[in-house]
Every structure is written in C-alpha cells, then in structure tokens.
C-alpha cells in the first residue's frame, strides 16, 4: 500500500510540548516538510533562539545551534561564512528578533547574508508569560500592558517585513499567517521558496509568520485563529514585500 502521509524525516519522533493551540508545532512541521522536500536535511543547520522555540533541537532531526537572545542573525552570519554550502536558517520570535535583536537582523539583511530567517510574530513574549512585544497590537492587553498597549509611551507595533523591505539588499521577504489550513500551506511554500533561493546562493531571505499564542492571549485556539486572521492581519498585511527572483529585468 502506498504511504501518503508520514512524519517528516526532519522531525524527531517525539511529541511537541508546546501549549495547546500554539502555532510552533505546526510551523516546526512546515519547516521540516520544506527541508524534506528539498532533500537537504543532512546539509541543514538550524538556529534555536531564546524563547519558546529554544527547544527546537528537541524536535528537529538535524544539526541545531542555540544562540543568545536576539543574536541568531550574527551567529548565522558566522556559520554561513564558514560553511557556505549548508542550508542555514534561524527561527526567531518577535521579542528575540524585533526587540533585543533588531540591530543584528537589520545588518545581516543589509549585508545580504545568504541565510533564511523565519520570524514568528505572535504579538507577545510567550516563554516569559505574555509580556508586551514590539509587535503587540495597540490596545492589546499583556502582563506588562494591563490596560492595553498605548501609543503614547509604548508606540505602535513594528512592521518588520515592511521595514526590512526598504533595504536594497534582501532578496526575498514575505509575510504569511497561521490562521487557517490554507495559509499554513502557503507558509510552508514561502519557507521552501526562501530555502531554495538560499541554496541557489541568491542572498538574504525572510519569512514572517503571524502565529497564535492562545494561552498568553487568553483565548481558545479557535478564537486565537480568528484574532490572527482578523486584527493581526489588518495591521500586519500578508503578502510578498520583496522577491528579486520575480523581478522583470
């Protein structure tokens, strides 16, 4: 009998220990599927950030480096310069990438480093218990914005994809969402495209993934998916912000 569905080789045979409804498990699987489809598991090195995804090495069945908070783009730079023929990607949350690591991401993108960043934007600090992130929506209640994020004093959420797209060097920047099955598949395709560009040596590739954090949002998983597909997408529109591979010369 033909097997039509199985665990990707790039995932270890262990259960995910993320909170109920969390996007990380599904997104890990999409990353693993993309790597399997490209047949590059044994050439891949992933970077685990500080945050919920720090345990990526418990799940990914390939080499993984754990890096200090916000610094994965710098570490990826060192790795890729040392091993240019490997598939190297970082998997970072919004606190990691858009707060403490904003400098590293901008400069790695600007140098056109040939690796891929998967930016998981769930509008909160998940691991530490739901504090305000740089991407927390205006009015969104968190443990450090008990009355909701106020523009006066806390500013507007940062649209990282749009900001990076102002740079000349990045090759591919897309934002997707994990709000429904169709968009989960779109996310996988975007990741696969980014990885393919990287393997072709095209340069810096970036996929921002709007994700859900039901526990810290104080919602059921279904409510969280609606919120992701609603207010989050309204502020953070999905789409391709840069794709030099599609540019008509």
């Amino acid at each position: 009998m033909k097997q039509v569905f199985k665990r990707p080789d790039s995932l270890k045979d262990v259960p995910f220990r993320f909170c109920p409804g969390c996007s990380h498990g599904t997104l890990h699987r999409m990353v693993a599927q993309a790597i399997d489809e490209l047949g590059v598991r044994e050439k891949t090195i992933g970077i685990a950030p500080v945050g919920c995804a720090v345990f990526a090495y418990d799940y990914f069945n390939f080499d993984v480096l754990e890096v200090a908070h916000g610094r994965p783009p710098a570490a990826c730079t060192g790795m890729k310069r040392a091993m240019p023929d490997r598939l190297i990607f970082s998997y970072q949350g919004d606190g990691d990438l858009a707060a403490i690591g904003m400098s590293e991401i901008i400069h790695a993108a600007n140098r056109g480093e040939n690796f891929t960043v998967i930016f998981v934007n769930n509008a909160t600090y998940g691991m530490t218990g739901g504090q305000m992130a740089p991407t927390t929506l205006v009015g969104q209640k968190t443990t450090t914005t008990p009355k909701g994020r106020a523009v006066h004093g806390e500013g507007y959420p940062i649209r990282v994809s749009e900001m990076l797209a102002t740079l000349e060097t990045p090759y591919y920047i897309e934002r997707t969402a994990m709000d429904c099955a169709k968009n989960v598949i779109k996310t996988r395709n975007a990741i696969k495209k980014a990885f393919t560009y990287q393997m072709d040596g095209r340069g810096f590739t970036f996929v921002e993934v709007l994700s859900i954090c039901p526990v810290n949002w104080g919602m059921t998983p279904l409510e969280a998916m609606d919120w992701c597909g609603g207010p989050m997408k309204e502020y953070f529109p999905v789409g391709v912000f840069k794709d030099e591979g599609k540019r008509v010369v």
Partner: protein
C-alpha cells in the same frame, strides 16, 4: 614567511599570529587602540582564503565568532576594554556551549569610555568571569611583540584542546609598539571536532547549546567544567622568573608592567639591590606555586600594575599572609618608568 624577521606592531603581530595558527575567520568592530588588528585582517584574510566581516557591534562580532566556531573552524575577535565589556554575554555563552574561540583585549583606560592610553584595568574582568555564570577562561598576558605572536598561536591550540574561549590580554602599549618579530610556521595540531555543526550527513544530529533545564543537569555540567578548569590549573600555568631565586624583594607584574618591572629589576641588581621578577604569563591559571616558592626565600613582595590593584589580590591569596605584599599602581593610563619603580623598590626594602 616562516623564519623571516619582520618589523611589526603588536596588533599586527597578533593578527599574523592568528593567520599562522590557521584562523581564517575574523569578526570585529573598530575601537582604539586595537584597530590595526581588524585592518590587517581585512587585507590578509582574503589572501589566504579567509573571511573578514566588520560587524555592526561588539555584540554581533562575538556572536559571529560563536556561529563560526560552532561549525568547527578557528575564529576570533578583538577589541579594547569598553568593547570587551559588550562581548561578555557572548563569552559566557561560548564557555557554556564549550566552544573554542580567541578574544583579544588590547586594554585602554577605564571605567566608562576612559581614555585610549594603555591600562591593565581589565584583569578582574578577564580572570574572574567577566560574563555571568560560573566559568573560567584561559588568559594569556604577553609583554612584547614576539610573545604576543607566539601566545596567539598557542591560544588557538589551547582553545581547541579544552573547548574553551581563550583571551589574550594586552594593552595599548603592546598593541602600538613596533618590534622585530620572527615569523614561524607552527605545526598544525589536529583536534577531533566531532561535536561541530556541519550538517548531520552519516551521523546523528549534533546540538550545541548552553541551556540545561533537566533536574541536576546543569550542576553536573558545571562540575564537569570545573574538572576542565582544574586540568588547566595543573597543566597550563606559564610564568617568567627573572633573578627571582635569591631575591629579597619579589616583584610580581604582568604584561607591559612586567616588562617595565624587568628593566627596573635589572637596574636594581646593577646597584646591588636584590630584587627579582615573577611575571605571570597566564593570568588564569594564576602561577600560585611560583609565588609560594618565592615566599620561602623573599622577605617581601611588591605587586606592580597599571591599575589600582587587581592581580595583587591573587598574589595575596597565594602568599597567604606568609610575607607582606606591597602594591604600586598607576591607573587610568599612567605608565611607570623603570627609574620610578627603582625608587619604589628602595621604599619597600626599607620596610624589611
């Protein structure tokens, strides 16, 4: 280039020593007085198939080293005091993930922005764990250009041997002084780097990390690392002794202060004053035994540093109150002269 004598600045010698040691990856950020290191590397590394990246910050530089080292290659960064403060997080992570790397600190005056003169104000930071957590790091303190070159070559071997970050601690004088230097081609030592992240072809996946959340896991890891530090203490101590055997006054000084103190000891001996020098070359591990041996013959110790008194604490710990330990320091960019030290020796000896 091997065996050839050249005239080089200390900073350039450090860079060339790294190239001789097989380092092909340099990541750094400009800061005086160490700029000749990145500048030299930016033109030298491409000649030998290496990579130079000018990072956006000191923090990024040390994490680029972290990433490159995790792939099993020899990588380094250099900076000066304020920049080394910024690298401390990364050094702690290197120690935690047990990754080899070379960090060069060409010290300047501090605290804060301080000044750009030579100083030894970072002894505590280098030897007592400048970053968080319970770790140690090999620290070499060269006192001239040739020694800087030789110790950089040694530092890469030791970093690989012990899987640890290693620091070469110099200062602005060492970095900027031009001296004759004999280049050499060191024998390439091979180290098994089965732990490196290279893609898991034909093996189980490797993980390099510093997070150990399991019950008792980190305690076990830290105790294991402690054994590694004990091995360093047993095997890696380096120390120069100059006229120390019969010295009444044992002078202890490292790096540039050690070089000046050596000249002062020579002057003292010419005048019949029985001074001798102990110059620690490794600051961690500290040469306790050499100091203890001197305590049996010398009546008094004098520690000379270009700071307000840091290594003197390690000397006092080693002497363990067996002899009085005096201190003479010139902080904030002050540099003692041999004649100045000679007067201090006389003052100390009158106390005997």
């Amino acid at each position: 280039m091997s065996g050839r004598q050249v005239l080089m600045k200390g900073n350039e010698a450090i860079a060339e020593g790294a190239v001789a040691a097989g380092c092909r990856y340099f990541f750094g950020y400009p800061i005086t007085p160490q700029n000749e290191i990145p500048e030299y590397m930016s033109r030298r590394l491409p000649e030998v198939g290496g990579v130079f990246v000018q990072s956006e910050s000191e923090v990024a530089a040390i994490n680029m080293v972290f990433g490159a080292s995790a792939c099993g290659v020899r990588a380094m960064t250099s900076s000066s005091s304020p920049g080394i403060s910024l690298k401390q997080e990364g050094i702690s992570y290197l120690a935690g993930a047990e990754l080899p790397a070379l960090i060069v600190n060409i010290q300047r005056g501090g605290p804060g922005l301080g000044n750009i003169s030579a100083s030894q104000g970072d002894y505590f930071q280098a030897t007592k764990g400048g970053g968080h957590g319970d770790y140690r790091m090999l620290v070499y303190a060269p006192s001239n250009v040739q020694e800087a070159y030789d110790l950089v070559i040694k530092a890469f071997d030791k970093a690989d041997e012990y899987r640890t970050p290693v620091m070469v601690l110099g200062d602005g004088i060492l970095g900027q002084t031009m001296e004759p230097l004999v280049l050499r081609k060191p024998k390439a030592r091979r180290f098994d780097k089965g732990w490196a992240l290279t893609g898991c072809e034909g093996r189980a996946p490797n993980v390099v990390k510093s997070l150990f959340m399991g019950e008792g896991e980190l305690e076990r890891m830290n105790l294991l690392r402690q054994k590694k530090y004990d091995r360093m203490r047993a095997r890696e101590v380096m120390c120069e002794e100059y006229m120390a055997e019969d010295a009444e006054l044992a002078v202890v000084a490292f790096g540039t202060a050690g070089r000046i103190a050596k000249a002062a000891v020579r002057l003292a001996r010419e005048r019949g004053i029985k001074a001798g020098l102990i110059r620690p070359v490794t600051l961690f591990p500290f040469p306790d035994r050499v100091v203890q041996k001197a305590a049996k013959t010398a009546s008094r110790f004098l520690v000379v540093e270009m700071n307000t008194g840091q290594m003197v604490e390690d000397v006092r710990l080693a002497v363990d109150a067996a002899r009085p330990v005096g201190f003479y320091g010139r902080p904030g960019g002050g540099v003692p002269t041999p004649a100045e030290l000679l007067k201090v020796f006389g003052r100390e000896l009158r106390k005997i």
